[in-house]
Assembly symmetry: C2
Homo-oligomer: 340 residues x 2
Amino acid sequence: MTDNQKRRQPVMMDVAKLAGVSHQTVSRVLRDSPHVRESTRERVLAAINQLNYRPNSMAKALVTGRSRTLGVVSFDTVLFGPASTLFGIERAAHDEGYAVSISSLRSLNRETVLAAIEQLRDQGVDGVAVIAPLQDSVDTLGDLKADFAVVAVAVEAGQDASIPVVAVDHQAGAISATRHLLDLGHKTVWHLAGPRDWKESDERIKGWQAQLESAGATVPALFRGDWTPRSGYELGERILQIPDLTAVFVANDQMALGLLRKLHEAGRKVPHDLSVVGFDDIPESAYFTPPLTTVRQDFAELGRRCLHTLLRRIEGEPVPPQAVVAPELVVRDSTAAPQK
Amino acid sequence: MTDNQKRRQPVMMDVAKLAGVSHQTVSRVLRDSPHVRESTRERVLAAINQLNYRPNSMAKALVTGRSRTLGVVSFDTVLFGPASTLFGIERAAHDEGYAVSISSLRSLNRETVLAAIEQLRDQGVDGVAVIAPLQDSVDTLGDLKADFAVVAVAVEAGQDASIPVVAVDHQAGAISATRHLLDLGHKTVWHLAGPRDWKESDERIKGWQAQLESAGATVPALFRGDWTPRSGYELGERILQIPDLTAVFVANDQMALGLLRKLHEAGRKVPHDLSVVGFDDIPESAYFTPPLTTVRQDFAELGRRCLHTLLRRIEGEPVPPQAVVAPELVVRDSTAAPQK
DNA sequence: TTTTCTATTGTGAACGTTAACATTTGGTGT
DNA sequence: ACACCAAATGTTAACGTTCACAATAGAAAA
């Protein structure tokens, strides 16, 4: 308002002039270099304050080659797992002073995942976390050039393991769910699985099978759903036909909800006639009819692990090829001992 | 691998040399300037391909002052509304060639919102969309300097309207929900509201009240929840005490779920004894017991509107102070005519 | 005092683009 | 052939930092 003809944002040089030092000294203060006298530091800090100077992160990024920004490839969905993972990563990143850019895909496949990573990279991110639950997308990541830091939030590494993977141990979750049912006295446990191309589905199936086999129970045929309540509801129709069926492990809570609905309509009492276990522990699960026994995943921890792995890759430090977060069984009212 | 001693990323100059032109011509090709001969353009394009050259967005941003990145301030939650809004914006932004950086707050208040905006700004975004459902945060935005493009996804503009607002018309949604119940023959409609400091809560209350009054129905006292199923469940206890209560409009689907659960436990049949309407249409709603009548919001459209408003602000064009997206009533099985 | 350090500060050149202006080219009209 | 104009291309200087040195100061050692 006074006599400054140009109203542009102040830059480092402006601060330097006001403080009576060189721009380099200002830069040193900003990055707390040890070689600055206390009195000068204060003078510079005062000037920064007075001008309300904000460093230009683009210029900094240009010269350092680091943007302190991370990319996350996710997809266009509010599915509980992926969304929670995204927030978990974002939170951990912010705590470490990193910004997060997202790219949410409408469809997940080789091309879209690769394109998203490239785009994020062009945009200047230092590294990318890919929330890639699909079998296909995990394989895709193997093709990636090793000159860029990428971490997958998935289930298990591809064959080559060129990309580190951070994951929830779905298999362990499925095992504890199945064991819980078996311990209750059920002869065997049926399974409503997730869609075919999802790694998550496969791992949950594996855990379920493994536990059944190690308990000497027969392994029944499984049913395929697609994560939606609708598919759980429709599969419920077929569940109802099966005689002697007393326990079902469902691959996620939403499908379990659909199943519960169908059973209710058919007059089957849960858990009296039949026990149901879900997976995810979405916030609604505790209020289903009946409250659902399910497997909870720790997304905050997952995000933290993912982030730290990514940061190490960015720094070029060696990283363990795989980090695993253990899920936890939450017992509520949808499971009970079978009727004699 | 051959004789290139330096393995750095190719830059514009490398392309220029290979194509036998100046870097400026390469720049012109990249920005499809009209003043390039077709044959040179092809030569340059070929060189770009051969070297697999990718423009450095930081350098570009530094000189243009535009990063083609937008910021979104949201919060650390997978609450359906905010999460969907975020994805809606992200999707629209990507379609326009903008990247999006997110900043998810753990708590929403004056300081955190302002800090997040500043941080995003320092990070170099061209503009910010704030998903600010809290009364407080909307007011906060009024204090913002006008020299930076900010759009709020909220309910209504603050007093000064210095910040454009894009919103779902919650009031209209509440009106249609209430009217639906009244049309069914209910004498009046009770309301389980959202938390006190949320704009959304207020607007839904207003709509409910307005519709009741215009229909000449008495306006009962309202109950306060906090969006969680738990609060709906607990409020259900009090709902049960009220004689002659036949219809409830609940401020969101999760609370409605909790209420449904409580009613079920108490042996009250929905919709036979009592009708319930929710708000949001979360994917689970159709499979509640019973399937929930609710109000659906169009988040994709919301995101699009928000984005376009933001882009206009960035370009310095005038923008309407308020844009509104109409919600839609979805009738399912939780509502019926009252018992005589 | 003079020398020799070391802590502090300054200088100039990157970083990889775009903007502004200057120059060359090739085609027209005379 | 000449001047002239527009189209096509090139040159130089930003943008706002950090980096690699160079230079200066002040203090300790001789």
